[in-house]
Amino acid sequence: MIRHPKDFYAGLVFIAFGIAALVIGSNYNLGTAARMGPGYFPRILGILLILLGAALSLRALRLQGSPIAAWKWRPTLVVLGSVVIFGLIVTTVGLVLSTILLIVMASAASHEFRPREAAISAVILAAVCVGIFVIGLKLQIGIWPGAG
């Protein structure tokens, strides 16, 4: 029985990474201890991760721990989604439009979301960012669509 869910699942995560390291790393030449190949160190790390993960998970059967807090998906999806979309479109549509989209979309992740306030803040921030990054720091970002 799982008594310490946080440790148990953390252990599984580590085991998964360890197995992935061993499986993918099996394509790399191991070499010998004196002449380590590219697969040598990853294999050590993979084995270590599996051992540590297993110890953690097994220990979780005995230790008592609090349950894992529920994962509220909205903040994660909206926040990271807005960032990814920003990254994908900024080159083509320029800094101003992508900034406005990021701010409005990311603001919606909060339970206190106020559309008007978000829109105003988006416009101000777009102007500030153009001022700091394009004019001030002279970074190579287009301001408007087609400029990048």
Binding site: K6, D7, Y9, A10, G11, F14, F17, A21, G25, Y28, N29, T32, A33, A34, R35, M36, G37, P38, Y40, F41, P42, L45, L48, L49, L52, L56, L63, Q64, I68, A69, W71, P75, T76, V79, L80, S82, V83, V84, F86, G87, L88, V90, T91, T99, L102, I103, A106, A109, S110, H111, E112, E117, S121, L125, C129, F133, L137, L139, Q140, I141
Partner: protein, 501 residues
């Protein structure tokens, strides 16, 4: 005297107008970050790292260092005025600082914090300058075996002194090491764990890892909690101390500075450990410990001096040994690598103006903080009234632009978002991200030193045990683990037994 030559060289660099400007920008930004809750120095430094690419290396490091110690100042302001630590390192300042503010002594508390920090900053600068030379001379004698063992000790030490489960922290280090070696292997040219993605052959960017795990994950977890921040601003009057208060505060400042300087040296140390340690010490030496938590000025003076001293001396292991001891220092490794500086003992000899310029800039930055911050407190408080729902999208925006401008590539942004998701998962599973970041920056160095050590010993792994310095460091690492593990096991057993009854 040699020390003065070094300091003179350093001031020659630190006092040039351009470096003064970057020290100012860094310490102001740091204060701002320290004041604002929900974004720490790690995320900020990660955010600003790309904008320093175009700078001279020394200016870049001066600015980034300024952010770190500036954050200690800013954090204390909100602790005292709002009972809300902007930084974890100023959490203990809340205990007595806020009580002082409630008793109408906010000005005295703020002045104590600022002057204590400045004094600590002065002493710590000299301390860094004195200790750095012998330490880096020692480190120059290290061979690959010693270096490998030193990294093991550094990594283990860093997690032993941090809070949370030891086993998890060690697993996080190993995962970090693994992520650190993603990319082209320097010896064989094989692209490891790159999944055919061309960007990954250059390795994962330290900015993406740090910003995702520390910045994005923090914002997301803040958004999940629905509790509201309350704002109560007390009036700040008379930013000075009475004679009586001064008398009470200065021994605490001295103790805090001493303790903080030493704790800052230890792996895993730095500002946070220093302030907590100092508070405990002050409580222990006080004639009347019951006054603590009720507005004892020593409870502000000690920890505030200690965290600033610790923030500065935590640069010593980085600058002399090339070993970062906390997440901020791990990012400094990233910053140095970007400018083609391999952190380690050779920096002092091959790049003395950078080394001493950085050390002396800490003192300059501290002076600026005292002079500028006390009058600016009103402005910082205003800033706190900006609601979080407006603040976090802006932080997110600056992070995204920062990552994007590393190489104007969508890939970096997506990679950072991936680490953000991983960061939220780690928060849910109570896995501290700092050890992962340490492992991440040390991964390539550790592999290289392991490879060289085993090459020299013709594949004999006992080389780590037969060289005395290496053996001593490994034994120290094992000792640290046992020290922590034993009482831990005992305690956990007791808990388990209680369950069964």
């Amino acid at each position: 005297m040699e020390l003065f030559d070094h300091l003179a060289l350093g001031f020659g660099v630190a006092l040039t107008p351009i470096n003064l400007l970057y020290a100012l920008i860094g310490s102001l930004l740091g204060t701002l970050i320290g004041v604002l809750p929900g974004i720490g120095p790690v995320a900020t430094i990660a955010m600003l790292l790309p904008t320093t690419y175009a700078l001279q290396p020394v200016s870049a490091l001066i600015m980034l260092a300024g952010i770190y110690y500036g954050a200690q100042y800013g954090g204390s302001t909100t602790s005292i005025l709002l009972n809300m630590p902007g930084e974890t390192s100023s959490a203990v300042t809340c205990l007595d600082g806020y009580q002082m503010a409630r008793q109408g002594q906010a000005g005295a508390a703020l002045a104590t914090a600022a002057l204590g920090s400045f004094f600590a900053g002065c002493i710590a600068t000299v301390f860094v300058a004195t200790v750095a030379v012998p330490l880096s001379e020692l480190a120059l004698k290290f061979g690959p075996a010693e270096y490998f063992s030193l990294m093991v000790l550094g990594l283990i030490g860093a997690v032993v002194l941090a809070h949370g489960s030891l086993l998890k922290a060690i697993a996080m280090i190993v995962l970090g090491l693994l992520l650190g070696i993603v990319g082209t292997d320097v010896n064989s040219g094989v692209a490891r764990f790159a999944f055919g993605i061309p960007e990954l052959t250059d390795g994962i960017g330290v900015v993406s890892v740090a910003m995702g795990l520390f910045g994005f994950a923090e914002i997301i977890t803040n958004l999940e909690s629905t509790e509201k921040r309350e704002l109560l601003t007390s009036k700040v009057t008379g930013l000075w101390l009475t004679k009586e208060q001064f008398k009470q505060a200065w021994p605490a400042v001295l103790r805090g500075t001493g303790l903080g300087s030493i704790l800052g040296l230890l792996p895993g140390g730095g500002a946070m450990l220093a302030s907590f340690g100092s508070y405990a010490l002050e409580k222990k030496v006080a004639k009347d410990p019951s006054r603590f938590g009720k507005g004892a000025i020593q409870g502000v003076a000690g920890p505030e001096s200690a965290n600033n001293a610790g923030a500065q001396t935590s640069f010593i292991p980085l600058l002399t040994l090339g070993i970062p001891e906390n997440a901020v220092m791990a990012l400094m490794v990233g910053a140095m690598t970007i400018h083609n500086i391999q952190p380690g003992p050779q920096v002092m000899t091959s790049n003395p103006s950078l080394f001493w310029g950085l050390v002396t800039s800490m003192w300059v930055g501290n002076l600026m903080l005292v002079v500028l911050n006390l009058p600016m407190i009103g402005m910082w408080i205003k800033l706190l009234q900006v609601p979080y729902r407006v603040l976090y999208p802006a932080i997110l925006l600056f992070c995204s632009i920062g990552v994007y401008t590393i190489s104007n590539a969508s890939f970096d942004v997506i990679q950072t978002a991936t680490f953000g998701a991983l960061g939220v998962l780690f928060v849910k599973l109570e896995c501290e991200p700092a050890p992962l970041l340490l492992g991440f920056v040390l991964g390539p160095m550790m592999e290289e030193n392991l490879r060289r050590a085993l090459l020299l010993s013709r594949g004999d792994p006992t080389v780590f045990l037969t060289r005395p310095l290496s053996l001593a460091m490994l034994l120290a690492a094992v000792g640290l683990v046992l020290l922590i593990a034993l009482p831990n096991i005992r305690k956990k057993r007791e808990e388990a037994f209680q369950e069964e009854q």
